[in-house]
């Protein structure tokens, strides 16, 4: 864009004319104690709770403690923001409760908690902003969740389906693939009219960069915003990051759009809040967490909802991530978040190392919205799948005996083994619903039982290619039809049998 000097000077002149001086009375305070990104301020008589205040050098802070004769302020910034603040410094009110810029300008950008861009692509050009804290929609403003949010992951879409407006927790130990599931879900939202916001709390900066690169590579940054409060950021920024992400999502939700928000992860969020609370001298409770640690997450997750038609029928689907230690889902923070969300996807390290990836424990994973968020076709094929897998789990210990088993048991074990193979999936390759329906139909109707277990996944890839060549309209037929009628079943049966013949001939 070529800038003409006359244009620039005329704009500056116009702005200068618009500028009027106003003498304002500002309330100020004096710093009496500062350290560990917390400042104690004397004065600031009429400051509001959660208000932004300004130190010298444009350092900002937020009021978190209103006490009888002092105010506790958390300082925002990265890398020791309190190093230039001294006792006796003046603190000024800004009159604004902490707010964050929102709107379309944020799409495709990487921002910090306060909405400042950190991707080097220029300023965020938006006039709208929303306060970080806002009340969740009330009972009358909501409607039940009824549309599916396709993650593209067979294990989830079939067994623990997520709907638009639901909160589904992903819980597991470290390195079990929690973030990987969320990246696949974001990639799968391409072309589905869903905005995505990935909120990184306390993550390594390298991980955030890796996520950004992967999303860019798959073209997902065209509809995604990344809010990053990495471990470099102060505890205050980490504490507020999920609320900022939700405020950005609410802007879209109240305009009738659908949003997917991922909080990665709430365990580090709770730790950041614990750090702040202890430094603010709030009384510690269980595991040294403050008394309102439940409210911290409940007020965050309640803002994700499906709105009724009068308000535009928009929705925010929240996928929080919680990291457990040694698989202990009954410790404090995991139990808190499990009781808030509408279901959880439980990832196990044992399954991961046994080669089941995504390492979803389908027995313990549940979605309280369930079938209402699935298409009728998927519901039909998935119910049989659930049964097959449940029976397999009961019998799987017998395989370790190596004894002779009766025919029925052997059949169930064979079926179960192959269904577990069917649910395995490669990372960064989310599957569309039609393909999921096809492969689960093939599995639950016994077409895979005579294939060796190791060949199941190769057959799956072959099957998709086969259908593309021989009957490309089948996929859209499955998507559009409401349920598997006889006609569709016959078509699928014939195609799978033909494909198997070809596959066995070539392999």
């Amino acid at each position: 864009m070529v800038l003409k000097p006359e244009e620039v000077t005329s704009i500056i002149k116009k702005e200068l004319e618009k500028y009027k001086t106003r003498l304002r009375t500002e309330s100020i305070g004096t710093v009496i104690q500062v350290g560990d990104t917390i400042a104690r301020v004397y004065g600031l008589d009429d400051v509001m709770m959660g208000e932004l205040v300004q130190f010298s050098d444009n350092i900002m802070g937020m009021v978190l403690n209103l006490e009888e004769d002092s105010v506790g302020v958390v300082i925002f910034g990265t890398d020791n923001p309190d190093k230039n603040i001294r006792e006796g410094d003046i603190v000024k009110r800004t009159g604004k409760i902490v707010q964050v810029p929102v709107g379309e300008a944020l799409i495709g950008r990487v921002v910090n908690t306060l909405g400042r861009p950190i991707d080097g692509k220029g300023p965020i050009n938006t006039q709208k902003s929303r306060p970080l804290e806002s009340s969740a929609p009330n009972v009358v403003q909501r409607q039940p969740v009824k549309e599916p949010l396709q993650t593209g992951i067979k294990a989830i879409d079939a067994m623990a389906p997520i709907g638009r407006g639901q909160r589904e927790l992903i819980i597991g130990d470290r390195q079990t693939g929690k973030t990987a599931i969320t990246i696949d879900t974001i990639i799968n939202q391409k072309g589905k009219d869903v905005y995505c916001i990935y909120c990184a709390i306390g993550q390594k900066l390298s991980s955030v960069v890796a996520v950004n690169e992967m999303l860019k590579k798959h073209g997902a940054m065209d509809y995604t915003t990344i809010v990053s409060a990495s471990s470099r950021a102060s505890a205050s920024l980490q504490y507020l990051a999920p609320y900022a992400a939700t405020a950005m999502a609410e802007e879209f939700m109240y305009s009738g759009k659908h949003v997917l928000v991922i909080y990665d992860d709430l365990s580090k969020h709770a730790q950041a809040y614990r750090q702040l609370s202890l430094l603010l001298r709030r009384p510690p409770g269980r595991e040294a967490y403050p008394g309102d640690i439940f409210y911290l997450h409940s007020r965050l997750l309640e803002r994700s909802a499906k709105l009724n038609n009068e308000l535009g029928a928009g929705s925010i689907t929240a996928i929080p991530i919680v990291e457990t230690q040694a698989g202990d889902i009954s410790s404090y923070i995991p139990t808190n978040v499990i009781s808030i969300t509408d279901g959880q996807i439980y990832l196990e390290s044992d399954l991961f190392y046994a080669g089941v990836r995504p390492a979803v424990n389908v027995g313990l994973s549940v979605s309280r919205v369930g079938g209402k968020a699935q298409s009728k076709t998927m519901r039909q094929v998935a119910s049989k799948l659930r049964l097959d897998l449940a029976q397999y789990r009961e019998l799987v210990t017998f395989t370790q005996f190596g004894t002779d088993l009766d025919k029925t048991t052997r059949a169930q074990l064979t079926r179960g083994e192959r269904m577990v193979e069917v649910l395995k999936q490669v990372q960064y390759e989310p599957l569309e619903t039609a393909k999921q329906v096809i492969i689960i139909y093939a599995g639950t109707n016994g077409y895979l039982d005579d294939l060796p277990v190791g060949a199941v996944r190769k057959f799956e890839v072959y099957l998709y290619k086969f259908i593309e060549i021989k009957y490309p309209g089948l996929r859209s037929e499955i998507e559009l039809k409401n349920g598997l009628d006889v006609d569709l079943r016959n078509k699928l049966d014939k195609l799978i049998i033909d494909c198997k013949k070809e596959f066995l001939a070539n392999h």
Partner: protein, 75 residues
């Protein structure tokens, strides 16, 4: 109440008297005036009363102007 008048250059006595009249009307209290010279203000007066500041200094106006001009959005 104690009032601090911070200026860049020493004020004339009648100017101080004018400020005193306005402030007494505003705060309706007995006021004790202290004067402070601070060259970084570049001009104008800062009035600090208790925990309130009325900032009429030139440096503050320049900062405001800077803020306004650097966030002009190009339509």
């Amino acid at each position: 109440m104690d009032v601090l008048l911070r200026t860049a250059f020493p004020l004339e006595l009648d100017l101080i008297k004018k400020i005193e009249v306005v402030l007494r009307k505003r705060f309706k209290q007995d006021l004790r005036f202290y004067i402070d010279l601070d060259g970084s203000l570049l001009g104008g007066v800062q009035v600090v009363i208790g925990n309130t500041i009325i900032d009429g200094s030139v440096v503050k106006r320049l900062d405001e102007l800077k803020g306004k001009l650097t966030t002009v959005s190009m339509e």
